[in-house]
Symmetry: C2
Subunit: 438 residues, 2 copies
Amino acid sequence: MKQINIALLGFGTVGSGTARILLEQKALLEKRAGCPIHLKWICDRDLTTDRGFSVPEGILTDDLERVMNDQEVHIFIELIGGLEPARTFVLDAIRRGKHVVTANKALLAVHGEEIFRTAHENGVEVGFEASVAGGIPVIKAVREGLVANNISTVLGILNGTANYILTRMTREGIPFERVLAQAQEKGYAEADPTYDIEGVDTAHKLAIMSTLAFGSQIGLDDIYTEGISRISPLDIAFAREFGYHIKLLAIGRKREKGLDLRIHPTMIPDSHLLAQVSGAYNACYIVGDSVGKIMLYGMGAGQMPTGSAVVADVVDIARNITLGATGRVPSLGIAFDRLREPRLMPMEDLTGCYYFRFSVKDQPGVLARIAGVLGDFNISINSCVQKGRDSQDGPVPIVMLTHEAAESDVRKALKEIDSMEIVLSPTMIIRIEELDTL
Amino acid sequence: MKQINIALLGFGTVGSGTARILLEQKALLEKRAGCPIHLKWICDRDLTTDRGFSVPEGILTDDLERVMNDQEVHIFIELIGGLEPARTFVLDAIRRGKHVVTANKALLAVHGEEIFRTAHENGVEVGFEASVAGGIPVIKAVREGLVANNISTVLGILNGTANYILTRMTREGIPFERVLAQAQEKGYAEADPTYDIEGVDTAHKLAIMSTLAFGSQIGLDDIYTEGISRISPLDIAFAREFGYHIKLLAIGRKREKGLDLRIHPTMIPDSHLLAQVSGAYNACYIVGDSVGKIMLYGMGAGQMPTGSAVVADVVDIARNITLGATGRVPSLGIAFDRLREPRLMPMEDLTGCYYFRFSVKDQPGVLARIAGVLGDFNISINSCVQKGRDSQDGPVPIVMLTHEAAESDVRKALKEIDSMEIVLSPTMIIRIEELDTL
């Protein structure tokens, strides 16, 4: 049986996990794939760091030129991360007629169109199961398992770091900055955590998932993105009081007005299964017209879970090479040239319920003035809580939950409210997501 | 592009859902599969019942002979259910070189070895995603998505009827018989509910899942099976008091002593995600050495969810026919002739914690005598609750939770205890399953 040769670019965290599986599970993979899968090259600039397992002689190299030129390689695995040089290497491999497997969500969210078009033109496959939700086979589920469905909703907790921070804030009542600092110390959060906490990483993943689910090439610009850095323990405590958890959600919905795509801190009912997804775990909730509601749950990151997804793609492609069935399932679920231009719903057209936390001066008439402005913009109040101030002259928090309101009205009302001299800092908004009970 | 012709045998609930998807989503399926998928025949004895959607002229027939002999058919979908004549039709189709898709878990659990061997000999595929957990792609996840993993655990809530009954008993405190009767009235439970409530249906599904996960052909006889009909509202209330939910679990674990395969009512901690799976929903929890813990959740039955899974298999097989890649993924994850004989752990070798509810006479010294016997068999008590009796002369319940004990000791101790004259009815045992927090 034909041997499939693999070149791995990038021997960092996920690269190490992937290499370990390919080396240590070689016999298992051969038994399942029906052909030997041979890790021929691991290419990295760092040839010396101990990755905790032994790599056979002659595999590890820093000679990228030699690896890229090796005619015997069938599949390149890109685990370098970031946009460049990853993009150049991936496009180079594709143009040489090689299949590519990547875990690089940033690369696909930003350069996906170029990469998938080039792959389509060169008749090669691009596997990217590992780019969303680590080892959970969400891409395969949407593309193959739910092939009979028109998908209306893809929604999820897709960033483990943000979820870990919110979980600890919820359980321990400590501020964002302190949890973040501790997470960085322990290596759970990156030195520069911007992508994780500002929702950018989650947006990368939603771009990929919604491209697949809705059959339109979605880019980062199509997604409204807001992070969690402004969430305070006060917001979490108020949310709990009202029966909600705060989660950083990726939300993709097909609506009459177009695709509704957004990332923001979201209040979801305690009773919903997604509210129970804690720590570094991820969950992806999908609604299809036949299957109904399903949820896939597991570790969204980590070297072995992500390696598991990378190797699953490698095996899939290896089977296709062996049988001459390349392109059996198009990378994006349908042929690249059948993707539609996305029709987007402007964020201003969103309607829903909102949580507002106003920080106001402790003086008579404040509540009335705020409520008056909200009324002017057709925003009707569902519940309202005013608590004592923290310190003598500090701001007093007033919290309101609204009935269904329009995002455009909310924006106008808050602009007016935030310019009042009685309002001491910008109002905190958290959107409440309507979710059917699971 | 080559057209793939389908013959559907059985136009009942799932058959109707499947036909609807194949007819109404024809364009979508062609776009995704890359080839037209044509429902050529629906074969059923009942030609008159209105299934709620229109079937094009000439498709519906009761002429089985003609359908089976149609050389143009590529894939037979068996949705008749039960063992015979389903087995005969499936084997007949396979021997004619036709691929088969089925949702029939009983058939596969009982005649799986014969069916998969015959399919292997005839070089055809057998798709059975719909046989476990309805539309949730659990088979594809285990067989393809987790291909890089040694799976150690497959565990799940796999019967919607049993879970619905337990959920209502838990929420409303009403007895088993009453919930069952109401469920039957509403059509949620079958007229003969034995398979659902006695764990047989769950055992069918575990046989399939554990064959896939552990690479050994598992039959019904390999699985210890106990149903939920003896669970009382009292047990549920006590469980809640101790922080547990009672669920009918399918448990498959690879242990040092062999495969541990069982179906029984199980106490799981309230905090575990599986405890939150309510009503007719199913969930499947899988542990792999690379991926860690994952859980897949959704509707485990119903005509459209199950139809979604049937059609996913049809598309998979259609792609393989079109590309000449039949057998690309072996039906059981590895080639049929590479399956191992299962090495089973005897149920007596199980160890774990137990819940006992003794029904005893209300007289002095009873507790001491029971505790004495347990002590004789090395069963140590973790907590004990004795509540007042229900009626004047009725039995008094004593409930105990044990520390880790051996199943063999438990059986011996209970045999002795249940033969005491102070014990008024057989002791209720519920096993407590150790689950890592998700």
